[in-house]
């Protein structure tokens, strides 16, 4: 015991840290973790005004009409939709089926092809793991892109560990995939191609119709993560020849905690269920379907269908206003992603010679993000920006502006004004900017002597 405490103290003094119990490696990790939290999370004070919400890709506020549809099922009609013996169950079930039809109508599917899940992450997991495992006897290859959502990439990694081959297709500088490259990558033993419709970080819209036709011609199943696209651009699964589609509730002004998976019936695609249990949702996803959430999703889909054109017009006008005003006011701003093939509501701008985190901290009246919510914890620049070939320094200085149904012109003007003001201020302080003003080419500088 005496020896142990002595050796610990020695170790502590050698490493120069106060806590002798940690090893050197652990303390190194801790300092990195402490440095990572540059933007400290804190609760808003009592009378502090709330920031403007400009992060519609992370999540969206619920539409009041959706809340109105959900409330009766939270308060009064609380039955389990799978109870077959009493009115509580029957009314819950009919509400659930009505919601299923509303979701199906939005994407041009049949209600029997919709499975309710807990969100797009679960739907993505179900698609990739389910399809791969079901058809693993003869098909061992999966194709996806480098700009997919983390859940897709992680599921593919798990599949690699299970013995599958996964190809991560690179994207061009504008964020779109190369169709020729995709065609060459598809092998006779490819079971699934998974490409997201609209990217959540740069807003780029992939040519899903062409990809769908290509996959159908090669007899390969096509999955698309349409979480950011559903309700925002017109979708038709039959026109696009999509076999599986993931839908997320809280991205289209619906409740959080619900999503859906579209599974084609003709030609039938089969998956191995991830969640076993009582056989609900045709055995594909057991577990009680949360009726109020499903009703909310259905209402959100119906509203999205009615408001699609109006919202698209509104978002386009505001996004153009934002981009044009910022670009007119300050130089050296880059719009990441293809300027035409995109969803206008997701604007990802890189401000050269300005650090992204410090700009976010300066813009504390506006709720923004750099990159996606799932990668915002780490210091690394987003992998999506790296995949589209942005320079390291531009990747660090990117901000994502999300515009949605509830954004107003005043909010956009305020954001632009503040952004321009803060970028100018930060650039004044930046030595790189000084050098650029003097005419020095930054790229020609040798930063290290050895």
């Amino acid at each position: 015991m005496m020896n142990r405490t002595l050796s610990r103290k020695l170790l502590g003094s050698m490493c120069g840290i106060s806590n002798p119990r940690l090893s050197f490696a652990q303390s190194a990790v801790n300092t990195v973790q402490r440095e990572k939290e540059l933007i400290k999370s804190r609760e808003l004070e009592k009378d502090e005004p709330r920031p403007l919400y400009m992060d519609f890709q992370a999540t969206t506020p619920m539409d009041p009409r959706v809340l109105d549809a959900m409330l009766p099922y939270q308060v009064n009609y609380y039955g389990n939709p799978h109870s077959r013996t009493h009115a509580y169950g029957w009314e819950s079930e009919s509400a659930m089926e009505k919601a299923r039809k509303q979701v199906a109508d939005l994407i041009g599917a049949d209600p029997r092809e919709i499975v309710f899940t807990s969100g797009a992450t679960e739907s993505n997991n179900m698609s990739i793991k389910g399809v791969a495992r079901f058809y693993k006897a003869k098909k061992k290859h999966i194709v996806t892109t480098q700009t997919e959502h983390k859940c897709v990439l992680d599921s593919c990694r798990i599949m690699e560990a299970e013995g599958f081959d996964v190809t991560y297709l690179p994207v061009k500088n504008n964020g779109l995939i190369d169709l020729k490259q995709l065609e060459e990558t598809i092998r006779p033993d490819t079971s699934l191609v998974s490409i997201m419709t609209v990217n959540n970080e740069i807003g780029v819209k992939q040519p899903i119709k062409e990809i769908g036709h290509l996959c159908r011609s090669k007899n390969v199943f096509f999955h698309t993560d349409a979480a950011q696209a559903v309700g925002k651009i017109p979708i038709n699964v039959n026109d696009w020849k999509v076999d599986l589609m993931s839908i997320s509730g809280h991205k289209l002004y619906g409740p959080k905690g619900i999503g859906a998976l579209y599974l084609r019936r003709r030609p039938r695609i089969r998956i191995e269920p991830l969640q076993s249990g009582g056989g609900q949702e045709r055995g594909l996803r057991s577990g009680t379907v949360p009726t109020p959430l499903a009703v909310g999703l259905g209402a959100a889909c119906e509203i999205a269908q009615q408001e699609l054109e109006y919202d698209h017009k509104h978002v386009t006008v505001l996004a153009n206003r934002l981009v044009q005003k910022i670009m007119a006011a300050i130089p050296d701003v880059v719009l990441n992603g293809d300027p035409d093939q995109r969803y206008p509501g997701c604007v990802n701008l890189s401000f050269a010679y300005v650090e992204g985190e410090s700009l976010l901290m300066a813009l504390k009246d506006v709720a923004l993000s750099s990159g996606s919510a799932c990668t915002s914890a780490s210091l690394e620049p987003s992998y999506v920006l790296r995949a589209i070939g942005t320079d390291e320094d531009l990747a660090h200085s990117s901000i994502r502006f999300g515009i949605g149904r509830f954004t107003t012109e005043d909010e956009v003007d305020y954001t632009v004004e503040k952004c321009v003001q803060q970028v100018k201020r930060l650039r004044e302080m930046s030595p790189l900017w000084e050098m650029v003003q003097e005419g020095i080419d930054i790229k020609s500088i040798k930063w290290t002597q050895h």
Binding site: P49, R50, L52, P64, T408, D410, D413
Partner: protein
């Protein structure tokens, strides 16, 4: 039909706008005002009585919805203030007469 007469539709429009102004949340309020205004403007030239009746019914449902929902969103927003936008001037006007004065008086409304 009397129910869809011009006066009735106009009074429905005024009521909808009046109720929409009572949303405590800035985003919901501005959206409701904008949507109501644009919807009525868009359907100004509709002649077919069946379609008109359908639209009036939808407007009436919308009105009931706003009346219900503004109460369900008042409770959680006690003490909620939003960033003051410089473009808005009507911050303390007669229309912001609502239960939670603290909520509304410093929140700018997108008054149309």
């Amino acid at each position: 039909m009397a129910a869809s007469s011009r006066e009735h539709v106009l009074s429905l429009y005024r009521l909808l706008l009046k109720e929409s102004k009572k949303f405590p949340s800035y985003n919901y309020r501005t959206y409701a005002l904008r949507r109501v205004r644009d919807a009525f403007r868009e359907n100004r030239t509709v002649e077919d009585p069946k379609v008109v009746e359908e639209l009036v019914k939808r407007a009436r449902d919308g009105l009931a919805l706003i009346q219900r929902q503004k109460w369900s969103s008042i409770i959680p927003t006690i003490g909620l203030r939003q960033v003051k936008l410089p473009a808005c001037t009507a911050s303390v006007s007669g229309v912001h007469r609502c239960v939670c004065v603290r909520v509304c008086c410093s929140v700018c409304g997108g008054v149309c």
